[in-house]
Every structure is written in structure tokens, then in C-alpha cells.
Amino acid sequence: MRIKNFEDFWSGMMFLAIGVLAIWESANYPFGTASRMGPGYFPTCLGGIMAVLGSIVALKAIESSSVAEHAKPAEGSPFAWKALTMLSLGFLLFGWGVDRIGFIPSLFALTVITAAAGSTFNIKEVLIMSVLLIAGSVGIFIYGVELPIPLFWWR
């Protein structure tokens, strides 16, 4: 037994997992009957469909040996570990900080950290860009559309 199609196999497994999770969580809600559905009815059915379809997708990816050229073990571009980590970290800090340390400091963190997700990182360039972006954002969002966000931690 060999995995012929990595894409399909892993997406099938992902759908299967999500389906099982959905059924698991839906068990907390009253199921009801087909004519008087409770809040658990619809999600349980969806989870079931999802799990079944996911398994089929995954199984087919194992057995389908006919499509030889289909099998492309993750060559393409490498998995974007660095980009995902830095982008997530930037958002995380922004989300945490925007109401605590203020708009300007959290935006600064966001720009510098996300810029580090790229392959080139020139500190001077990044700082200039960061200042420009912050100035623009403050102009547009705080003075333009008047979002109720504090600028700094002292508000």
C-alpha cells in the first residue's frame, strides 16, 4: 500500500478529523428528531458526511495507482514554516497589544515582525516602512474613520 496522491490523502485525513471533531462536539447539544430538530441535529449530520467523504478521499488517494503522474510528493515550494510563524506572531502581538499597549506600539511590532517573514530584511528599510505605515494608519483609521482605539498605553 502506497500513498499515491499526497494532496488528496492529507486533505482526506484533515476532513475526517474535522468531521469526527464536529460529531464529538455536537454530542453536547440536544439532537431532537427529524421532524423537530434540536440544535445538535444539523451539525452531527454534517460531521458524519464530512467524516465519510474525508475517508473516501483519503482511501482513493491510497489505491488510485492508475494516475501515475498525479503523484507528486511535496516538491513545489517548501512548507512555509518561517513565514507562517512570523506572520502569526505579528498578528498575535497586534491582537494582544492593540487595546493594552495601544495602536502605535502594536502596529510597530506587527510591521517589524511580519517584515522578518520575508527573505530579505534590511533593518533601516523596515524601520522607515514601519514609520510610514504607522503614520498612514493613524491618519486613515484614527483621524479618518475614527476607530475607538487608544494610540498608546496611556490612551
Binding site: A22, V57, F94
Partner: protein, 509 residues
């Protein structure tokens, strides 16, 4: 209906709307709307709400003209970002991302933006005429839509969405089911129970569209671009050189049919309250793909894939005014706000508006057309500017997009949780890209899912558990039959061509 009366009314409308002051309000509304629409997350609701106090001191006609200008201006601005940076501003422009962004990367952002403007204008014109001619009778049809009809309509729309699959149909269906599941998060309308919220009160109203769209589209796209091997300091988002700003004759020829059909679909679905623009954009795209001689072009920058959904959603947006104006039933939060502005002005929205304030009713209709014309005039020259933006090196571009996304997502509810969930959907979106799963059907299902379940259960509640209501009511039965036909059309060729498609699908996306 008396035709001369309508002409006379339209005359009154244009004389109202063409006054210098009202023209200025219209322009201001469209301009502000476009500008705000380009900012991700800050949709029409927020824009109208922010400018509402300004209108307190205007006269009612000026106020509603300006607010409506903001409404379709933001819709339009949302499509611009969909094409340029793969960020849909509204659920109705999600589908525009697919071919619009592909066109932009191929150096054809200009024609894509232009065709979106032209298609929207044509659809807006037709929509305006429809509102003027058939407003009241169309509104009566909308009233005939009860829970069973809505449920059947959603079923049909979701099946139509499976046509979108450029890869395996099975995976597309999985994405639709996943979208339905994501749509369940939040408070269940029927029982008042919180589902899939895992104890987080910030999830009680569900996950906002902006969170999902920015995660699955914006965030994931950036992560994927950054992992490209070709990543160098001078790289831009473009794959090919920019070729021409305006659509060529061939483009126009290819797009014109799509614009007509998209407009018709949009006008039909737009009249119904709930999900109109989104359903019509998806259906129009699906139809074009079915009709195309070479469906494999779709997803790689087919101009019809931009023209059809953009025309459809704009026609739907215009037709949304029908029930709002003639029945006083708002289509969504934005329309509710516009109605609120009217009541502040001392005008009770509803059927009597047409007879009591004809200047307002017909002035608004005339201004809808003028506003659409202004959008084209405003946006065609901007195309050049937008396209230049694509030449900005990517290392400056992506942090800027991230900044706008972060602020946009946060501003929806001023909730940090939304920012964290964008990360989750971003990572998920990246996995989807890696695993060749299309996110667009997920979004349609996410938008329609809650409506579908709600109406299914409501229909059964009202019928006291009798499932035959879906077949005994003619409109509902019609949708279900259409859904079954769609299924048959879809399955037969896919059995025949299974092999070829399986091979072709590996390259698509």
C-alpha cells in the same frame, strides 16, 4: 403599469437627483464608499454607521442619496482589493478573487478592474430600470418566500457551487460541508443555544466574514508567496509584465455575454432578502464555467470569471433596494441603517414612501444610476494608479497588507479574538493551498449555511414536522427540481470524463 407615468416619475427623479447639491452628496458618498471599501474589514455597515451623524443635518433626499452612494461605493471598493491583492471586501466578491487575482498576477489587472467597472455599471443600469419599472410587483414575489423556499434555494445554490470545483468534486463537497460547519459557530437562532463556541463569548455571534476571508485569502496567499523559491528582494506580485490597462476588443467580446447573464442572475436573486449578492455572484460564475468552451481557463484568469460575478453582485445590490423601499424590509445591516437614517429624517419607510414622498423615491432611483455612472468615471482613471501599486516590491507590499488586514479585522468588533482567529484561518488557508482545496465554496457555504439550517428547522416547525412542505409549495419544489437537474448535469459528464479531468485537475488552481 402606466408607462407615461413612469417616465413622468423618472423625470421628477432626475430633476431631484441632478440638483447641484444632491449631485455633490452622491459624489461624496460614492467617493467615501470607494475609499472605505478598499480598506479590508471596514465594510459598508461600518462606513454608513460612521457617516450617519453627518446626515442628521441634511435634507432627507440628500441624506439617502449620500448613504446609498456609500453603500454601492463600498461594494465596488471591495472588488478592487479582491482583484489586486486577493482580499475580498464582501462575501459577494469572494468569487472575483479567483480569476481577478489570477489576471492581476498575469499583468492584466487593468482589464480586470475595467471590466468589473463596466460590468457593474451595466448591471447597475439594468437594476435601476428594474427597480423603477417592476419594484412593487417584484417585492410581492419576495414576500412569497417562506422558510421552505429559502431552504430549497440554498440547496440549489450550494449544488451550483460544486460546479466551481476545478479539482476533485469530492474535495469541493468537503469544503462546502466545512463551510456549513464553520457557519454553525455561534448562537443557534432556533434554540438560542451557543454551538461550537468552546466557552468563548466572543464567538456567540459566530465568526465574522472578514475573519475568514482575510485568513483564507489574504493571510494564506502571503504565506504562500513568501515560501516561493523565486523570492528575491526585487520581486513583485506579478508573474508577467503588465500588458495594457484597458480591455481589448477580444476581452470585451468574451465578457459581454457574461455581463448580460450575470446581470440577469443578479437581478433575480437580489430581490430576495438574504444572501442575494453572494448567491448571484457564485451562480453567475458557475454558469459561465458551464457554458465556456474551455472551462479549464477558469481559475487562471478568464475575463468572464470577473465580468459575470461582478455584474451579478452589482445587479443584486441595486435590486436590494426594491424590498427596502417598497416594503420597508431591510436586506441586511446596511439597508437597516439606511432605513434608520430615513426614520431619523421623519420618513417612515414602507409602501407609502412612493406615494407620500415621490421626490425621495424617484430621486433615489435616479441617483442610483447617477451614482453608478460616477463610480465608473471615478474608477476607470484610478485603474492606472491601482495597477502601478502592483509594481511595488513585494517586501514592502506584504507588511502593508498585513497592517491593513490586522486593523480591519480588529475594527469589526474591536475584539482581539477576531485577530487570533484570522491567524487560525490563515494557517488553515495555507494548508488548503498546499492540499489543493479551493476555499471559495467554503465561503459560500459559510454565508448560506446558517440561513439553510435556520430555514430548514423553521419550515419543519411551522409545518409541525411534515417534510412534504418542500415539495408541495411550488416555488420550493421548483428550486429542488433545478437542484436535482444540476446534480444530473454535473454527474454525467464527470463519469464520462473522469480520467481526463483527474489529470487536468492536478494542474488547475
Amino acid at each position: 403599469m402606466d408607462f407615461t407615468l413612469i417616465l413622468q416619475n423618472l423625470g421628477l427623479g432626475f430633476s431631484t437627483a441632478l440638483s447641484l447639491v444632491n449631485l455633490a452628496y452622491c459624489f461624496l458618498g460614492v467617493l467615501v464608499g470607494t475609499l472605505i471599501g478598499v480598506l479590508p474589514g471596514i465594510g459598508p455597515v461600518a462606513a454608513v454607521a460612521m457617516l450617519l451623524p453627518l446626515t442628521f443635518n441634511l435634507d432627507p433626499v440628500g441624506a439617502i442619496i449620500m448613504l446609498s452612494g456609500i453603500y454601492y461605493g463600498t461594494q465596488y471598493g471591495g472588488s478592487t482589493t479582491a482583484i489586486l491583492v486577493n482580499l475580498p471586501g464582501e462575501s459577494s466578491s469572494v468569487i472575483t478573487c479567483i480569476d481577478g487575482y489570477a489576471m492581476a498576477r498575469a499583468g492584466r489587472a487593468g482589464p480586470a478592474l475595467a471590466i468589473a467597472a463596466i460590468g457593474s455599471f451595466f448591471a447597475g443600469t439594468v437594476g435601476t430600470i428594474l427597480v423603477a419599472l417592476l419594484g412593487p410587483p417584484l417585492a410581492e414575489i419576495a414576500l412569497k418566500f417562506g422558510a421552505p423556499e429559502y431552504f430549497s434555494l440554498m440547496v440549489m445554490a450550494l449544488i451550483a457551487a460544486s460546479v466551481l470545483s476545478s479539482g476533485s468534486m469530492m474535495k469541493t463537497i468537503c469544503m462546502i460541508v466545512l463551510g456549513l460547519l464553520v457557519g454553525i459557530v455561534g448562537t443557534d437562532v432556533n434554540s438560542g443555544m451557543s454551538r461550537f463556541t468552546f466557552g468563548m463569548s466572543g464567538l456567540a455571534d459566530g465568526i465574522h466574514f472578514a475573519v475568514i476571508a482575510m485568513g483564507l485569502f489574504g493571510f494564506a496567499e502571503i504565506a504562500s508567496n513568501l515560501s516561493d523559491k523565486a523570492d528575491t528582494a526585487e520581486r513583485t506580485v506579478l508573474n508577467q509584465k503588465i500588458t495594457g490597462l484597458m480591455p481589448t476588443y477580444e476581452d470585451m467580446k468574451a465578457a459581454s455575454g457574461a455581463i448580460f447573464r450575470g446581470t440577469a442572475i443578479g437581478a433575480f436573486f437580489g430581490t430576495l432578502p438574504g444572501g442575494g449578492p453572494t448567491i448571484s455572484a457564485f451562480s453567475a460564475y458557475a454558469l459561465e464555467k458551464k457554458l465556456a468552451k474551455d472551462p479549464s481557463r477558469f481559475g487562471k484568469g478568464a475575463i468572464e470569471g470577473v465580468a459575470a460575478p461582478e455584474s451579478a453582485n452589482n445587479a443584486a445590490v441595486q435590486c436590494a433596494f426594491i424590498t427596502t423601499l417598497t416594503l420597508g424590509i431591510p436586506h441586511g445591516a446596511t439597508m437597516a441603517l439606511i432605513l434608520g437614517a430615513l426614520t431619523i429624517q421623519g420618513i417612515a419607510p414602507g409602501p407609502q414612501v412612493m406615494t407620500q414622498r415621490p421626490d425621495l423615491f424617484w430621486g433615489l432611483i435616479a441617483s442610483m444610476w447617477i451614482g453608478n455612472a460616477m463610480l465608473v468615471v471615478l474608477n476607470l482613471p484610478l485603474v492606472g494608479l491601482w495597477v502601478k501599486l502592483l509594481k511595488v516590491p513585494y517586501r514592502f507590499m506584504f507588511p502593508s497588507i498585513m497592517v491593513f488586514m490586522a486593523i480591519g479585522v480588529y475594527s469589526v468588533n474591536n475584539l482581539d479574538l477576531d485577530v487570533y482567529f484570522t491567524i487560525l484561518f490563515g494557517v488553515l488557508g495555507y494548508l488548503f493551498l498546499k492540499l489543493n482545496c479551493q476555499p471559495a465554496p467554503l465561503i459560500l457555504a459559510f454565508v448560506l449555511g446558517p440561513l439553510m439550517e435556520e430555514n430548514l428547522r423553521r419550515a419543519l416547525l411551522i409545518s409541525r414536522g411534515d417534510p412534504t412542505v418542500f415539495f408541495t409549495r411550488p416555488i420550493s419544489a421548483g428550486f429542488l427540481i433545478a437542484a436535482i437537474l444540476l446534480l444530473i448535469i454535473m454527474i454525467i459528464p464527470s463519469f464520462k470524463k473522469k480520467r481526463e479531468e483527474a489529470v487536468a485537475s492536478s494542474e488547475v488552481l
